[in-house]
Symmetry: C2
Subunit: 466 residues, 2 copies
Amino acid sequence: MQKEASVREELFEKLKAVVGEENISRDEAVLRVYSYDVSPYKGQPEIVVRPSNASEISEIVKLANEYRIPVVPRGAGSGAAGGAVPVSGGIVVELTRMNRILEIDIKNLQVVVEPGVVHANLNRELAKYGFFFPVDPGSSEMATIGGLISNGGSGMRSVKYGVTRDYVMELEVVLPSGKIVTMGSKAPKSASGYDLVRLFVGAEGTLGIVTKARLKILPLPKSRALVLSAFDDLEKAGKAVVNTFSAGLVPSGIEILDRTAIEAVKKYNPEIDIPLVEALLLFEVDGTPRGVKEEVETIKEVCEKSGAVKIDVATSKERFDQLWSARAMVGAATTALNPDCVRVYEAEDVTVPISNVPRMLLKIREIGEKYGMNIVTFGHIGSGNLHPALVINVLDESEWDKLWKISEEIQTSAIELGGTTTGEHGVGIARAKYMEREHGEALEVMRTIKRALDPNNIMNPGKMAL
Amino acid sequence: MQKEASVREELFEKLKAVVGEENISRDEAVLRVYSYDVSPYKGQPEIVVRPSNASEISEIVKLANEYRIPVVPRGAGSGAAGGAVPVSGGIVVELTRMNRILEIDIKNLQVVVEPGVVHANLNRELAKYGFFFPVDPGSSEMATIGGLISNGGSGMRSVKYGVTRDYVMELEVVLPSGKIVTMGSKAPKSASGYDLVRLFVGAEGTLGIVTKARLKILPLPKSRALVLSAFDDLEKAGKAVVNTFSAGLVPSGIEILDRTAIEAVKKYNPEIDIPLVEALLLFEVDGTPRGVKEEVETIKEVCEKSGAVKIDVATSKERFDQLWSARAMVGAATTALNPDCVRVYEAEDVTVPISNVPRMLLKIREIGEKYGMNIVTFGHIGSGNLHPALVINVLDESEWDKLWKISEEIQTSAIELGGTTTGEHGVGIARAKYMEREHGEALEVMRTIKRALDPNNIMNPGKMAL
């Protein structure tokens, strides 16, 4: 015990020499700040360091290897699966000081950023040039690019624009050995070698720490429009989505609010003018002005044929913003229906094949009724991704019990409907127990890779069932 | 030696029991057929088997492990890098019998296919539903989906539609152990676990054999148009491409024919009406009819501002087809300028950042002049991918010497210009010697993964410098 303490002291001094006194802490109050994210999972680190470059991170990882102590990379801590929670203790490596946009190369449609750049800041900077990084997480104002990459994030516009992995061209990574390696290519496409970039995207820091990323960017669309369609039946709304694709359209996004979500929004902000129906679909289309007009017409036709009871096209900027804000406020509004309750992020990221979305929506409602919980459901229906919001009185032990059961039932249903427990938030601790069910024997392939690249299991251990 | 022969006999008998007498051969004439692809590399297998399902392949791979003999998967043999050439002998596993489209799921925008399905056949089938698999290799009528996946193929429309990896949702793979594993998800997006699918896309059969693939499909665009722009200067053509993106457009494809390519086409088919200039750009746009019209106008404006000397919009189907056929015939036309010569696929897939395409084009011309070879260059300029065609008298030894030097200089230039030796054809044998230069220490990460998943190195050994 005595020896252990002196060894830890030695490690602390060595780490301090690497990052400097002002960028290291083992203060109890500070450690507590780094012991959680948005999820209900907790775990306290022993030391927090805030490095400023890849060489420092390399030194940190080498020390961690020498002292056999876990290393947990962390961005803004806005993750919803416990991915950055140090469940096995160890060193938290906070990357928010590495927040520079290093290069904006418009000619080649790419940017180079450090991992701590906040998503919204990148897009604000790019907008000056008429460009954007199309991945659009709801947590844009908090989430860092490094977090997005490590969790395989996406968002509303993934229907047309895809997910983070589609935009990562090159990564600089500190491997579990401490070696700094660059993978990928500056060329728009490459068929050379294993696609290591995509192996590290979504690896949640279990294979190394991303220290730099070259991202593909796109020109901002000239025009955008929103179509709001109201349905008196969930099934019909689901079919309208399928019919939209069959009509040859790929909207930038298709969002859904079910009745509980609409009620929540209306309660949260009575001034928002949206109809109270079984399901609302929000279609966003973008492109050239005339192209957008044409797509809006087609979507209206498709929705009419699919049985929409009301269709509303947002032509003014005001109405456009109002409708988007209705969608954006659902998260916050989830507690409006249950004033004494708090939203717990569990089962919040289920994703199923598009044709099964109506069934998944009904299933969630059914589970809510069974346990007597008003589950507010909304999400990216165009990519099969739903965000049910479970709200409980967190001070009541029996409510937690109910929550875990509901979470289990919702996530199991998603898998049974051919889907996954996570479309964009990652596995972390929250979804680890579903890895075997989702991946079967492929999980062993993941474990083999993990063992080969991180033989001492120092990189973010205890995550993803690896 | 005697023992070796009897052991091989034993293996042959066991393999025969797996695939049936009519699907195995060690006939010298047959083996010769399987000893090459489109590249100049050769290597003869000892046995060829033609399995019909994943269980048979699993048995074959298990036997290969037991007998420590290489296994080389092969589709149509239309590869250009020697990827399917059995350089270390062993068993060629030909997958063309597994050519069924197993499921067309329009509602979920996906299809399930066996690896031996020919690319063009899949798209002919999907066209009946108004859908398509957007990846479009030039070898569409030959190439199999399994080959496309294993080589990370793409084609002309990757500018807008991306590459093969963007369309693979799920893979069934026989691992080097013989285990049959399914990876990926049926859901439109998933953030669960390591992205094994993308690790196997482009792995060229070195990590296992793809036996089934679930692919994303898209609705066929309602409308397409072509804009042909002529430039009296390569640099200006390159800038027109950059300016197109900066103007907010993402055409489905942008192709280039330099002067030598135009000359070749005109010699090959004098009836094709295209201007003889320094560079021709072919822009293809697709979308809704009005959207397409609008984009055509913008491209015309951009090209005018960029200094185009002639702009021609293909409005009639006839002219559209004629222009595309001009592009399509370049490959065949490359020998028109050099009647005694044959095209050798070497340095044929270089890819650089878009802003460096003009420099790469000039470099290729310079190298051609230095060695006295008429190098015809064309390709997917919109994604930085050029296909220089090296043509020599293959019976003349000294010409081969020249070819290797030219190949080396072109590929080295591509790497120096921030690019890769292969944008879509793969590494195989041809590009193995550049792996270290392209990937540096990341190559060791690839080798670690290879060793971990294929400890006996039976899966397509001798490829990709692994």
